[in-house]
């Protein structure tokens, strides 16, 4: 579904896509995978690793993560060092606290909103729990876009 969202809404500048971590305790490899994505992000490869991990959800052992890092052309030593440092753990836990605060405890879920002008916050306008049919998400995005004035000023990347 996200490739469709990317093609129809992100690529043409209508929608910004953001990822928040919610590693579930019932998924024993999820936390390491979240750290791997964050470490790949240090080398500007978060989204590549995101795709790689979703494509290989049954192979998320430490060796697998290192293999993906190599396949993506990352500095593997730096990637492993990042993983073992746990330096992204606090940020991942912050994400969990934030989404739990919205009543979101399951994955995947989707938050629709808009950037608060002049800040690093998003005002959440709608929450979709579970994986919706693309048509449903499209309907919600289109309705909000129709009712939202275009952004006027550039925003931080």
């Amino acid at each position: 579904m996200l490739p469709q969202v990317y093609e129809e809404y992100v690529k043409n500048g209508k929608v910004e896509l953001i990822f928040l971590d919610l590693p579930l305790q019932m998924h024993p490899r999820a936390l390491d995978a979240a750290k791997a994505a964050a470490c790949a992000g240090e080398q500007q490869k978060f989204w590549d690793m995101h795709h790689q991990l979703f494509a290989n959800q049954r192979a998320l052992a430490a060796d697998d993560l290192a293999t993906y890092a190599k396949e993506l052309g990352l500095d593997v030593a730096a990637f492993k060092s990042c993983l073992s440092s746990n330096r992204h753990l606090a940020g991942i836990r912050d994400d969990v606290r934030i989404v739990n605060g919205l009543g979101v405890y399951g994955t995947p879920s989707f938050l629709l909103g808009r950037r608060v002008p002049g800040g690093d916050k998003v005002e959440v306008l709608d929450i979709v729990k579970g994986l919706p049919p693309y048509a449903m998400l499209k309907e919600k995005l289109d309705a909000l876009l129709a009712a939202t004035p275009p952004a006027r000023s550039p925003q931080r990347q």
Binding site: L22, H27, G91, T107, P108, S109, L112, R114, R115, A147
Partner: protein, 60 residues
């Protein structure tokens, strides 16, 4: 009730329906939603998008 409605112009009824329909979209924007920080979270965008879609997930 019926007697009162007979006196209302069909155009007024249509305008009322239009307001209700457009209001359902505007309502989502008019209401105040919770604000969450996303400063350091991974983002993918082109230009200055009107909306944000946040994927909340794990990878397993």
């Amino acid at each position: 009730m019926t007697a009162r409605l007979r006196g209302i112009s069909p155009w007024a009824v249509a305008a009322g329906f239009a307001l209700v329909l457009s209001g359902s979209q505007a309502w989502a924007l008019a209401k105040k939603g919770p604000k969450i920080p996303v400063g350091d979270d991974p983002s993918l965008k082109e230009g200055s998008p009107q909306l944000v879609l946040i994927e909340v997930s794990d990878f397993q």
